[in-house]
């Protein structure tokens, strides 16, 4: 439980841009009016997630030390950030897709 909590906090490193991208994707999906648009959004989200992770890895890696002290390795932090980002994206985009 503690690890999950720490992982959630580590997501804050990319939370604002990641959620903004997800909401933008949701807005585009709503505008398009078709679930077929999800294919494009999947690739957009995948590429932006990798770019965000790459940015944090290259320029904000000093922030990882706090989480290392609580037992999360670099790999664990990156996996946690990707999983949480995608969980949020699936919930939001899935929700919008069901409304179409």
């Amino acid at each position: 439980m503690h690890v999950i909590r720490v992982a959630l906090y580590s997501f804050r490193l990319i939370a604002i841009p990641a959620i903004l991208i997800t909401l933008t994707c949701a807005a585009f999906l709503w505008q398009s009016g078709t679930v077929l648009f999800l294919v494009w959004l999947f690739w957009t989200k995948l590429i932006t997630t990798l770019l965000l992770i790459g940015f944090v890895y290259l320029f904000r890696s000093s922030a990882f030390c706090f989480y290392h002290n609580m037992g999360l390795s670099l790999t664990n932090i990156l996996i946690a950030m990707i999983l949480i980002d995608w969980l949020v994206a699936i919930l939001v985009l899935g929700g919008v897709a069901t409304l179409l």
Partner: protein, 217 residues
């Protein structure tokens, strides 16, 4: 408990930073690590902590090798020379995540209690540094690495922090590195200097001059 590390090799392209390191730290002692700028002190700490890769390393606790992803075992806590706390969380959250009780902070530095609701960037650099050092010292990890814990801290607080380091060694082993060498030497039970990629156990001040760390005794 005894933490030992040796056979650490670190090279950046053609530049060899660490080659013949051998250090040990027992529970109940403070070990000082001195060295000129760029001698590899921070790299050494990061390598042993597990956040930096090296060409080779051997880290043991009570003779048992620490291999793979040993950070999750939470044996070593590390205060980096840069900021430890992310700006996105409050001091109270950091305490909570580290499992440190606020009463411990209150007993040592009551003035810090007013800042618990703040985020790190909302307080002064010195206050932030003390808080970060206390977090590491009060954590449950049996060994602590403190990289420049006194930087930016006013003398009165540095003295208080020294006292806390000495008190905490009763339950853990602590390795301290700082350029305030008098402060480090005052609290250290043993002293090493890192020079030319090697660790030298220091017995006298004259050795510090020989190794180019001090100009004169």
């Amino acid at each position: 408990m005894k933490l030992e590390f040796d056979s650490i090799m670190l090279e950046f392209e053609m530049h060899r930073v660490l080659s013949a390191v051998h250090m040990a730290c027992n529970t109940g002692e403070v070990v000082g690590l001195l060295g000129r700028n760029g001698s590899g002190k921070s790299c050494l700490m990061r390598i042993v902590f597990g956040s930096m890769a090296a060409q080779s390393k051997s880290v043991r606790i009570d003779g048992q090798y620490l291999t793979g992803d040993y950070m999750r075992k939470k044996r070593i806590a590390y205060l980096p020379q840069h900021d430890l706390l992310p700006d996105s969380i409050t001091f109270a959250t950091a305490l909570n995540l580290f499992g440190v009780k606020a009463e411990r902070i209150e007993r040592s530095f009551p003035e810090l209690m007013d800042f618990l609701k703040y985020k790190p960037h909302q307080v002064s650099g010195g206050q932030r540094r003390i808080f970060e050092a206390l977090l590491i010292l009060f954590s449950d990890h049996p060994f602590c690495f403190l990289d420049e814990p006194f930087s930016g801290i006013m003398p009165v607080h540095a003295e208080q922090l020294s006292e806390i380091i000495c008190a905490e060694k009763s339950r853990k082993g602590i390795i301290v590195s700082d350029h305030l060498h008098r402060q480090v030497r005052a609290i250290a039970d043993r002293l090493y200097v890192l020079a030319n990629g090697k660790t030298y156990s220091i017995q006298s001040e004259a050795q510090l001059v020989e190794l180019g760390y001090l100009l004169e005794v």
